[in-house]
């Protein structure tokens, strides 16, 4: 059983929900990414999602676009991020998921990508622009290497598609909470509960909700319905404003750790 599935089993046994932070790899530097992963793991997170920076991220809002541009401007490449995961695997066991746009995977070589992911200790891959219909090569390569394929469902997904996506998903299913791009929002969109209920009818796999979750209160609400929550832009926003206001890396890490712990507490309440 994959590290991700084990995590969800344990969470279910303990009646807990997964807290999954997202950070952009190499933003603002690889050292900081490493520091963030360590800090997030210590702050009660269950799985860490790392975005591979891409020049044309069509599913992302301004925060994650800027984060990717900063990372690319510093010369971050995919190999750096594989190396970074291999490095932390020496002392950290927390499941790690990569989010990569499909061109990065295609260009790297689909089989090679899956192999490098597996060798470095990546547990799952999310490809925001790859629906299951286009994923047969990728899926085969990932599964052969024991990598979980995490597909996304959206509020617009038809029942037929929910069934299809569930069949192809391993580890968990990423539920996009709204029709839109990534970015911190003040509230959940109307119809969210109905959407989640509809997804549940088609799968018994863990459901994690992302896009827009920015406060512990929202997390708490979503946690009552889903198996986990994904917080991305809110963390990356905090990192950005902390660094641009001249705070040191240590201070930023502390701030983010505190922020993430507040999500943990609300989720566990």
């Amino acid at each position: 059983m994959s590290r991700i599935s084990c995590t969800f089993n344990e969470l279910r046994r303990n009646g807990k929900k997964a807290l999954i932070p997202f950070i952009t790899g190499g933003n603002p530097s690889l050292e900081m990414t490493k520091g963030l992963i360590e800090s997030l793991a210590e702050s009660g997170c269950d799985i860490i999602e790392i975005g591979i920076p891409y020049s044309d991220p069509v599913a992302d809002g301004p925060t994650l676009q800027r984060a990717a541009q900063r990372s690319l401007a510093n010369g971050t490449n995919i190999q750096d991020l594989f190396d970074l995961v291999a490095d932390i695997r020496g002392y950290l066991d927390i499941p790690i998921v990569f989010l990569a746009y499909y061109n990065c995977i295609y260009n790297y070589g689909i089989k090679n990508f899956a192999k490098s992911a597996s060798c470095s200790g990546v547990d799952g891959i999310i490809v925001p622009d790859l629906p299951p219909e286009e994923a047969s090569f990728f899926e085969e390569a990932a599964w052969n290497e024991g990598i979980d394929t995490i597909f996304l469902v959206a509020p617009t997904s038809t029942e037929k598609r929910l069934k299809l996506i569930s069949e192809h998903s391993r580890g968990f299913i990423y539920c996009v909470s709204l029709t839109g791009v990534t970015g911190a929002r003040q509230s959940l969109c109307s119809g969210f509960e109905e959407f989640m209920a509809k997804v549940r009818r088609f799968t018994d796999k863990p459901l994690c909700v992302g896009f827009g979750i920015s406060t512990p209160e929202m997390a708490s609400h979503v946690g009552k319905i889903a198996d986990g929550i994904i917080v991305g832009s809110a963390i990356v926003d905090m990192l950005e404003s902390s660094l641009t206001s001249g705070e040191g890396e240590k201070e930023s890490l502390n701030k983010i750790s505190k922020f993430v712990r507040s999500f943990r507490e609300e989720l566990d309440n």
């Binding site: 891409y54 020049s55 044309d56 991220p57 069509v58 599913a59 809002g61 301004p62 676009q65 541009q69 690319l72 490449n77 995919i78 499909y102 061109n103 990065c104 995977i105 295609y106 260009n107 790297y108 925001p128 622009d129 790859l130 629906p131 219909e133 286009e134 597909f151 996304l152 469902v153 959206a154 509020p155 617009t156 997904s157 038809t158 598609r161 996506i165 996009v176 029709t179 839109g180 791009v181």
Partner: protein, 395 residues
């Protein structure tokens, strides 16, 4: 059948977009399949092409241009004479009818040179639909005339400041808008790019160019041409001209990409000549990318060709050797821009000037009995500022 049911031209094409818009693409495909053979739709589309856009556009024998080159006979397919000044309206008329039929209330589009933006704003105004056009900040500056036209037509022009601030980024931003407003918004893609069914659908709407050309050349020359030449950005004017001739294997198809400052400088917009396979804006095709799969911004003096990708069908025509893809530098295009103006009294768009520049190389190598048809895809009024700047003329 090309493309196949999943939107593949050989290995190229497909549907690589976020899940949120997949159901919208399924809905679009279904609606398009319903109307494409529907006599009522065809009649309405043809009526608009005729009465609103002024089709059929003439096929003009460019006598002085041909004589100057001293070889083949060169015919110009006068797409510049369409309403709004380019071939783009063929596609926007087709898609706006589809949007109406699907009950969409809001239209969005990306634009590079502004020609597709103008063509979209035009049809949205005609049908009374709200219209938002995404345009790169850099293109807004070099195509200020078209920006003003779009605003006159009631469209909101949104400046895109991300990435390279050109067509690629405008397309990203339009896709983000669509992901957000997918329930009530119709996205009119302006070229044979994007996820299935766009490349097929846009080609089909544009293929009126090739169908007319075929009839017209047979009427005057009593035979098919030897060469068809068209410029390639995303590739819609070329696809529209080529498609009705694809099975006429005696007709050579030549697409002309923008070599910008020259392929060797890396500053160009020629993915079929100097790119590699990858996925951009929803389809697998040739594109400009670095060794890590990051998209490299294109360069061309012509805003309409300044795009790092190309329609998947062109990648297929290249792989199968049915079409040949060459390229032309900024300077060569500028020279052809001036030549056609002086010799024929026709100011071509800088995009079309790329095709003309290649004809200037090709025609002298051919015999006098050979026939070239070049797609004069747009008129050059929008480019006078750009050209004036290069020539050091204050306008």
């Amino acid at each position: 059948m090309i493309p196949d049911r999943k939107g593949y031209f050989g290995e190229f094409g497909g549907r690589f977009v976020p899940e949120t818009i997949i159901p919208a693409l399924e809905e679009l495909e279904e609606a398009y399949e319903e109307i494409r053979e529907d006599p009522n739709f065809i009649e309405e589309f043809e009526r608009l092409l005729r009465e609103y856009s002024g089709r059929p556009t003439p096929l003009y024998y460019a006598k002085r241009f041909s004589q100057e080159l001293g070889g083949a006979k060169v015919y110009l397919k006068r797409e510049d004479l369409n309403h709004t000044g380019a071939h783009k309206i063929n596609n926007t008329l087709g898609q706006i009818l589809l949007a109406k039929k699907m009950g969409k209330k809001r239209i969005i589009a990306e634009t590079g040179a502004g020609q597709h933006g103008v063509a979209t704003a035009t049809v949205a105004a005609m049908f009374g639909l709200k219209c938002v056009i995404y345009m790169g900040e850099e293109d807004i500056q070099r195509q200020s005339l078209n920006v003003f036209r779009m605003r006159l037509l009631g469209a909101e022009v949104r400046s895109v400041t991300s990435g390279s601030k050109t067509l690629k980024d405008a397309t990203n931003e339009a896709m983000r808008d669509w992901v957000t407003n997918v329930m009530d918004t119709y996205y009119i893609i302006g070229s044979v790019v994007g996820p299935h069914p766009y490349p097929m659908m846009v080609r089909n709407f544009q293929s009126v160019i090739g169908r007319e050309t075929k009839e017209q050349i047979i009427a005057v020359e009593h035979r098919l041409p030897d060469y068809l030449v068209a410029c390639i950005g995303g590739g819609s004017n070329a696809a529209g001209l080529f498609y009705p001739f694809v099975n006429d294997t005696t007709v050579k198809l030549i697409g002309v990409e923008a070599a910008g400052f020259g392929l060797e400088t890396g500053k160009h917009a020629a993915p079929l000549n100097a790119g590699s396979k990858g996925v951009l804006h929803g389809a697998l095709s040739y594109l400009l990318q670095d060794s890590d799969g990051q998209i490299i911004p294109a360069h061309s003096i012509s805003a309409g060709l300044d795009y790092p990708g190309v329609g998947p069908e062109h990648s297929y025509l290249k792989e199968t050797n049915r079409a040949t893809y060459v390229c032309i530098t900024d300077n060569e295009a500028l020279a052809a821009f001036e030549h056609l103006s002086l010799l024929e009294g026709i100011v071509p768009a800088l995009e079309s000037a790329h095709a003309l520049a290649y004809v200037e190389k090709l025609a002298p190598t051919l015999g006098k009995e050979e026939i070239i048809v070049v797609n004069l895809s747009g008129r050059g009024d929008k480019d006078v500022n750009t050209v004036g700047k290069v020539l050091g003329v204050q306008i």
